[in-house]
Symmetry: none
Subunit: 190 residues, 4 copies
DNA sequence: AATGAATGAGTTTTCATTCAT
DNA sequence: GATGAATGAAAACTCATTCAT
């Protein structure tokens, strides 16, 4: 990604997360990026194309962060813990990107179907680890597809939680809590 | 809600869930409803107004279903179980509405802020029950705001799960699984 | 064709014949028609659509004029003479339309192919009459497809003749000359 | 014309005849020519300039072919026959060029006026021969301007004939037919 | 001679909204 | 209550042209 494309990339995340994809205009993005409108079209084919590029780049970053972190781990429960930590941190560091992503997952149009396909790839990573955990008798036998979806939704929706308590939030604390609830449940024990 | 307004209401849910709010046009909604475009403006002030009406009606319905079901329950854990069951069923019965709702929660514009406020009211119901559960020593001491968000996200994201496995899905089975994971966790036990 | 559509139709012919289809802008057409730009799109789907409508209407008019005139004629040579007269008159009366038509016949894009198809329908009328003439031994045996093309081109190109001599031209005189050359040739006879 | 300019020239004929002058883009022409877009502007001042160059080159070629062929002929009827043969052959050999030329003759803009002026120069050659023929009593007294226009249109429109019958066509046969019709007319004779 | 990234004015198109009937 | 023709501001997109390298 060269200098100009990166300027556009950053401006696009900024504007689109602020106003939403449809209310964001190419004029505003160009303006924010400090380039002419035509320059957007020199680097991207269309407005949709910018969105696709954004989501591809963002999801790649998240995936790579996770794969790198868990590559040298042995224990599948440790891996799941790490995913929660990384995803939580990612959520707060790249909040604007995550908002764009989450706003695009619910449609029935081709472009949204393609975005969901990319999410499925991500969920597949989690499922594989759940599989490992089950084999190692560290995780209870369960519906892994259901679980990975729930997992993703649970963590993602924390962004709504953050909107609500818009004071400073500690991703480490959140990760700890989510791990605790997820593994031990919320049922009272002595 | 009279006959015409109801036709518009149903057409709006249909079209907006299909194409997304911004790609849905007043022409299409009018067409689907079998009325003239002007008629939309007789019953609603604006396109935004239709969306607001949709979300208000849908959330009221969900809230009322839940409040009615749990009103005569004593045990807070039973109440939470019931909420999961009702919300899962709602999710599959009014899938189109839920898709519209979920697509609108992630923006920073006034209208989306107002939608999130409405979600917070809904989460408040869950929080109060968690509070009861903690007092009755049925639920572990926990961050109830965090937990209710996670709760909502987990159940909502099941709609992504359903997109993925677009064969028939049993909401009852899903509710059972979610309850099991939520209360007992996924940690392996003998 | 209602009042508004007719205003647009006339403005389109005016502007497009003046500037050419690609240099004519929707703004100019709307302006000339005395309607808002949006109104163009209420009555036509696109700029191309206006062109297609123009050409359809124009060719229908020409065809109808001819068919009406020759319907009660018996002699095929008389019919051909009449076609030359009608087409010449049409050429000068609806010069702007003819210029638009002629500028669109030479491309390889879908839209131009479709325009040529419409011309072929017109040429078919001429061919049929040539056939009649041959059967009646009034016209020499000849390649009727080649001849009808040549016929069309010869008459149409007179518009270039008129550009050159932009003083007043008498369509009747032109028709007479064309008929004379066509039937008797230009070879000198005593 | 050096190597690069020639590559551009050929690419321009190819692309412009395919898409039409206005739909052809400098990007496409550069792409087809295998040079960078900037290079087009090193060899030509503007897009219009390319078109003007194209038409000048093409018409010069046609004129020179004709003048060369008829220079040693004495009989004016023979000369006219030869013009028809040459023009027909040219039509089929440089079909793409002819399509571009024909698409540009019908506008009222300065550039099209200038193209018509060049056509008039070409028609002048024909007129002069007609004059000769009349003086030599080989051709009937006639309106030579009208006749040369008709002549040009008749031959040019054969390209439409070729579009229609897009199988192989023999220019020699076409030339023979045109000569026959032109000189002797289509009137039936015993 | 040649390049190709950048430009921005100009164009088509969209569509929520209005209003006279 | 209902209509639908008309609107016009706003948007996406195009592309010939420039210019620093």
């Amino acid at each position: 990604m060269n200098k100009t494309k990166e300027k556009i990339f950053n401006a696009a995340i900024d504007i689109i997360s602020q106003k939403g994809f449809y209310k964001a205009t190419m004029d505003e993005i160009a303006d924010k990026a400090g380039v002419a409108k035509g320059t957007l079209y020199y680097h991207f084919n269309s407005k949709d194309d910018i969105l696709i590029f954004l989501i591809d780049e963002g999801l790649s970053l998240l995936k790579n962060q996770i794969l790198e972190k868990i590559s040298h781990m042995k224990n599948s429960v440790e891996k799941l813990r790490e995913i929660i930590v990384v995803q939580s941190n990612f959520l707060f560091k790249y909040k604007d990107f995550v908002l764009i992503l989450l706003s695009q997952l619910w449609g029935k149009e081709d472009i949204q179907n393609s975005f969901r396909e990319k999410i499925y790839d991500y969920l597949k990573i989690i499922e594989d680890i759940i599989d490992e955990g089950i084999e190692e008798k560290l995780i209870e036998r369960c519906d892994k597809k259901l679980l990975s979806s729930a997992f993703f939704g649970m963590i993602s929706s924390l962004i709504i939680f953050q909107f609500r308590n818009n004071d400073i939030i500690d991703p480490e604390h959140i990760a700890d809590s989510v791990i605790e609830y997820t593994f031990n449940g919320i049922h009272y024990r002595d």
